[in-house]
């Protein structure tokens, strides 16, 4: 069974219909990149996947849990869905290590010792172990984002969602974050990545989805979507961003 199943997802903000009729499946271990112009609804779609935005209609099933069921314990489901934000959103009054260990300890999923041990491993993996005792404001954007990835991974998620993880970074820091994500992808993590990094989508994704105007306009293996786009809107978009 696919890890994520989205059926007829519609999302309105007041009268504005941001998502019209999204259908999507993501298999276990698959890396899906979502591209599209600003305002196309791609971030909203991602945020619906862990219930940060509540779908207006349609159904979303992640890991066998129906997110769109009003009776679902969304907090429980979210434990298995890691999310990385454009603005990192680290907790500014906690050290790097505390940021990583805070949630699982607070939720009683791990003892502080277990969480610390796992945090050390994860921070080492993202190359941030030497900054474990630093505060977020002492770190560069790229470093903060790598910590945010470690924080999400500490919960042992089955799925990772990335919402334009490199859009707020200075250009020289984009690479370090993408490399961490690439490693994660190669280790078999199920990932949905909303991104403007076409190079990353092309190289790392198993499937690329182009969203425009609240609908999936085109999807397929990245080499097809990027090299032989069938839809005119995809062609125009790619011409503009790849010029």
């Amino acid at each position: 069974m696919p890890k994520i199943i989205v059926k007829n997802l519609q999302k309105k903000f007041g009268d504005l219909e941001v998502l019209k009729d999204i259908n999507l499946e993501v298999e276990e271990g698959e890396v899906v990149c979502v591209i599209g112009p600003s305002g196309s609804g791609k971030s909203t779609m991602l945020r619906c996947l862990n219930g940060l935005e509540v779908a207006t209609s349609g159904s979303i099933v992640v890991d066998g849990h129906e997110i769109t069921d009003p009776k679902v314990d969304i907090d429980l489901v979210r434990r298995n869905i890691g999310m990385v934000f454009q603005q990192f959103n680290l907790f500014p009054f906690m050290t790097v290590k505390k940021n990583v260990t805070f949630a699982p300890v607070k939720l009683g999923l791990m003892s502080q010792e277990e969480a610390d041990k796992k945090a050390d491993e994860l921070l080492d993996r993202v190359g941030m172990l030497d900054k474990a005792d630093a505060y977020p404001r002492q770190l560069s954007g790229g470093q903060q984002q790598r910590v945010a990835i470690a924080r999400a991974l500490e919960m042992n998620p089955d799925v990772m969602l990335f919402d334009e993880p490199t859009s707020a970074l200075d250009p020289e820091m984009v690479g370090e974050v993408l490399r961490v994500m690439e490693k994660l992808a190669s280790e078999g993590m199920t990932m949905v990545v909303v991104t403007h990094e076409m190079g990353f989508a092309k190289q790392v994704s198993d499937r690329t989805i182009f969203i425009d105007g609240g609908v999936v306009v085109e999807e397929g293996p990245p080499e097809e979507v990027f090299n032989h786009p069938k839809n005119e809107r995809t062609q125009n978009f790619l011409n503009m961003v790849l010029q």
Binding site: N50, L90, A103
Partner: protein, 218 residues
């Protein structure tokens, strides 16, 4: 009567008045903090009804003078329900309800000043709304609220002088009583004014120190 004669003569009564001022202010502020936090949380709640309740409370208090509130509580409520209330009790209730509304607004503003991404990040890790609010949002909100809270403490201290109108024996009331005895209006009000001023300067200095320390931490 010379200034120093007057001062030494009335000093014990003035100190007593100052004591009542500080006591009523302190008790009111502690109760108001609880009330303010409660209504502050209601006003950022997702439930429309809770927000409306908080809105009505804050609007009523902000929309009426504190002297009317004091009269309403001390004379109005007691006569409608036919019982007696000590001026001190009525005074503390008035100050509490009044400061509570302003503190609720300060708490609401502080909570809303925290970036929305903080709540989203906490929720995305599986923390409930309540836990995220208490352990992620409030610690950040409090830092931004400290100057406004101290300011409200100073305002409440000064507002306590208004309670002389219902006969609460605080500093201003004692000042009036001393003048009734000796008619030294000019000198007595200078002394009373200086006493308020010194207490408020002490509060301001403490507040500046706290602000500085929070800035160093943040």
């Amino acid at each position: 009567m010379s200034f120093f004669e007057l001062l030494s003569q009335s000093w014990p009564r003035l100190l007593q008045g100052l004591g009542v001022t500080l006591e009523s202010t302190l008790i009111s502020l502690v109760l108001a903090a609880i009330l303010g936090l409660l209504f502050g949380m209601l006003s950022v709640s997702r439930a429309v009804g809770a927000r409306a309740v908080a809105r009505v409370y804050v609007d009523i208090i902000r929309g009426t003078p504190i002297i009317v509130q004091a009269f309403f509580i001390y004379f109005g409520i007691t006569s409608a329900l036919n019982f007696r209330m000590e001026p001190m009790t009525a005074g503390i209730i008035t100050l509490t309800l009044n400061a509570g509304a302003y503190l609720a607004e300060i708490f609401r503003g502080g909570i809303e000043s925290v970036d929305k991404g903080q709540m989203e990040a906490a929720r995305s890790l599986g923390l409930s709304h309540g836990v995220a609010m208490r352990s992620v949002i409030l610690p950040q909100a409090v830092r931004t609220m400290v100057p406004a809270i101290v300011n409200q403490c100073i305002i409440t201290l000064k507002d306590s002088s208004i309670l002389s109108v219902i006969g609460m024996a605080e500093l201003t009331q004692i000042g009036s009583l001393i003048i009734a005895d000796n008619l030294e209006s000019f000198k007595v009000w200078i002394i009373v004014g200086v006493m308020y001023f010194i207490i408020i300067m002490i509060l301001s200095t403490i507040s500046k120190r706290i602000e500085k320390r929070l800035k160093a931490d943040a």
